[in-house]
Assembly symmetry: D2
Homo-oligomer: 256 residues x 4
């Protein structure tokens, strides 16, 4: 029996309303396309949320009931409220998984967890992307061969302004001559974070089986194992301290 995993797919859902080309590829929005293939997985309970809902669809309750959050945003990062970002960040640090997709490299939430610029080179020119599988025994690479290709994609190139990943799973090759760390993991607090590069809105990337496989794998991998709220406790000694020392024990007003 598989234990239920509660997943929220967050989509900015703006390009789909403004650009007919995008609407044709993702009629219900990118987030609904992602939710649809995740719903096929046994044990996954999937909801969606988007920017223009109240609290961007990420109320305290929704986040409390989310085990893994997926995030796709691009043109409206600045419109995401700092309060919701802080709330989602706190949940990651407590144990919630996070999958940041494509231009979410610049999402406030991802940047706040990385602590860096997350900048990169980019070009929209229908480059072919070939993702090399560097870590074939990683659960996120399950079912992926030596490499897979995306026929047309936006190019993202190095240097990528991220902290050294805990694990580097995919490196991309682009026709135009660039490379990119396209699949990488970090632990932040008690939560697991995966960044996955592909997914520009003008290409049918999220309809491609390998991309769906990687995202599905990543959701499994990001399943929380604990939920530990933040705490900075004043602790008694576990061993006997020398006497003069014991005398010195006291609480300090205003400390921490």
């Amino acid at each position: 029996m598989t234990e239920t995993l509660r997943i929220t797919v967050w989509g900015e859902f703006r390009h789909e309303k403004k650009n007919p080309k995008v609407a044709e590829i993702y009629p219900q929005g990118i987030h609904e396309t992602i939710a649809a293939f995740l719903r096929k997985e046994e044990g996954f309970t999937v909801r969606t949320a988007s920017l223009d809902e109240p609290e961007h669809g990420l109320s305290e309750q929704v986040l409390a009931e989310t085990d893994v959050l997926l995030w796709w945003g691009h043109m409206a990062h600045a419109e995401v409220s700092d309060e919701v970002v802080e709330r989602a960040k706190r949940r990651v640090l407590e144990g919630m998984g996070l999958i940041a997709l494509h231009s979410a490299h610049f999402a406030k939430l991802f940047k706040a967890l990385m602590g860096t610029t997350c900048s990169l080179k980019w070009r929209e020119a229908n480059d072919k992307e070939r993702l090399w599988n560097i870590l074939p025994n990683h659960p996120i690479a399950r079912g992926i061969a030596d490499y897979f290709e995306i026929p047309s994609e936006e190019m993202y190139g190095e240097p990528f302004g991220i902290p050294t990943p805990d694990e580097l799973i995919f490196i991309s090759w682009f026709t135009g001559g660039e490379v990119f760390r396209s699949g990488a993991t970090w632990q932040r607090g008690h939560g697991r974070v995966f960044y996955f590069r592909p997914g520009h809105e003008t290409y049918p990337t999220y309809h491609q089986p390998e991309v769906q496989q990687v995202i599905t794998n990543a959701v499994h991998w990001a399943r929380p194992t604990v939920t530990i709220p933040d705490d900075c406790p004043n602790c008694l000694p576990l061993e006997t301290l020398p006497e003069d020392s014991a005398a010195a024990q006291r609480s300090t007003v205003g400390h921490k």
Copy 2:
């Protein structure tokens, strides 16, 4: 000839004014004690800054002229303005070194660079601290034996809410039965960050030779090698793209 290194030691400078015990140990403030021993090092140009100065003493110009920033704060983290934190963070990501001391684990600047809670266990009870040298070939451990001791210190215990360090240099043992990752490094952007645990204000820790040695070593280690402002450039391909692809090249309004 040693090239000049421009250092700014930032101190909160509040305990020293309020608590006679602290004032006795650090009459000019903790930051001035640290600046004083750094000034003995050939090639170091050292200034200080503190919370109650305009812009906390960290104007754009001061930071632009700072190669390595040291930070000691404790009771007034919340009073540091977000604007100054953002300014200092941007300089670290560009290449400036940062040495975060003791309770600076909770400084806004350090937390923003780590992306995590930076919480820990703590106790003020005159524990003895013994710092074990785990990485004796690291430049920050130069001149440090297998271990050194601090006779009385505040205890900080694991778990410590930080991302996995790039390098773990010191692990502390405490009389009361705890351990702590007391000396750790991270690269953030193009800047180097070192966290060093000891230095509670009620103990003469910064007068101790081994502590001064480690901090001096860390300042040398954190010297910037580059200064690279943040940038997220749109790039032309380096290789010829197939024709239909080349036709697709265009700038996208409002992208990034």
Copy 3:
């Protein structure tokens, strides 16, 4: 339904025959005590092997049928044949998990995978050991609180001559004043390696529930996800090379 996991517990099995104190604690040998608690886990199929069996009980076939190998050795590391070490190492690199226990830090197999001395400080003096849980969301720490204690153990102290672990899960505190990285993981090839410090033969360490819990967790964690034999293939280009380049393609006698 849990898929079967095939486990081999290797024990040197010499102290138990020579030292009555050890025989009293582990009458069937340390390896049989470990095998006994692992056999209680659903889906685990457990066999044992030891030094004085032909091929040390680790024939090609036994290793081919082993998903996770546990290793306890101490006084007779040198008697393990290089051929068997090479065979087991090849299996780890292909995907087999390895749990190295206590003095297996000096086992030929562990040292060959680490590439370092694996030396440490040590003392037999009934120190109390307290293992702090640094990474509570790691599968190997499942069910383990902030810390657990072993009333009497041999002391192992830093510096420990290992490569920087991929993940550091436990740090030990010892009564005598030392610390140690007691639970650490590395990926080697396609296999997962966990080193776990406790387990000196003169103490009933492997009868302690927390120690059994960690080892059981580690076996689950080390389950292979792939089996990929070593290969260094000559590959055709995936993209068209310029013509003069294509002309240059040739096999090179004696290459690799």
Copy 4:
């Protein structure tokens, strides 16, 4: 004043004698070409050694007087004696730097330090190689722009069977569609190890300024900071142990 750095460049020196094409590019041998550009650096004292000298030119004395060792080998890895490999490995673990060049990925010494297969994909077809600078603030990347190109090189492709590098500095793009982690560092014991991919014998790679720059930078970076022979000491407690425990202190015959 720069302190002297004692460098030994080891070359297999076989291709140069057998293949006129290689002899034309490297008339004195690859090792002499590398030594020649290193000799231009102030403070560098450079000698060379090669396979067919007694003890491969790496006697105990030569290694004792070597701060940084460079290694180029290809067709005759198997002819390097295990004794010399063990000797050189011990020196790395004590603190000597090691720069492994191109096909030295398969040198016994490099493999013994990595603990893995070090296998990779390969092709000789005059691919263009573009090395992207992922970590521009690293001392090894000093003076290197965003990328540099080598017009013709052997291709090495991922997956590369190495442990996760401590630092990843260069990722290569190849015309034929592959990527490779081309510049990576590991600490092993007290020594620093750098692997640098380019340098196939049939191309004039070591005459190229950027390649010379990287290798020169790497030699500076690998300078030993300590020399610490292997040791596994029995240690007295630093803190008072409970009495019954103290009684238990004893040396154990044959331990370690």
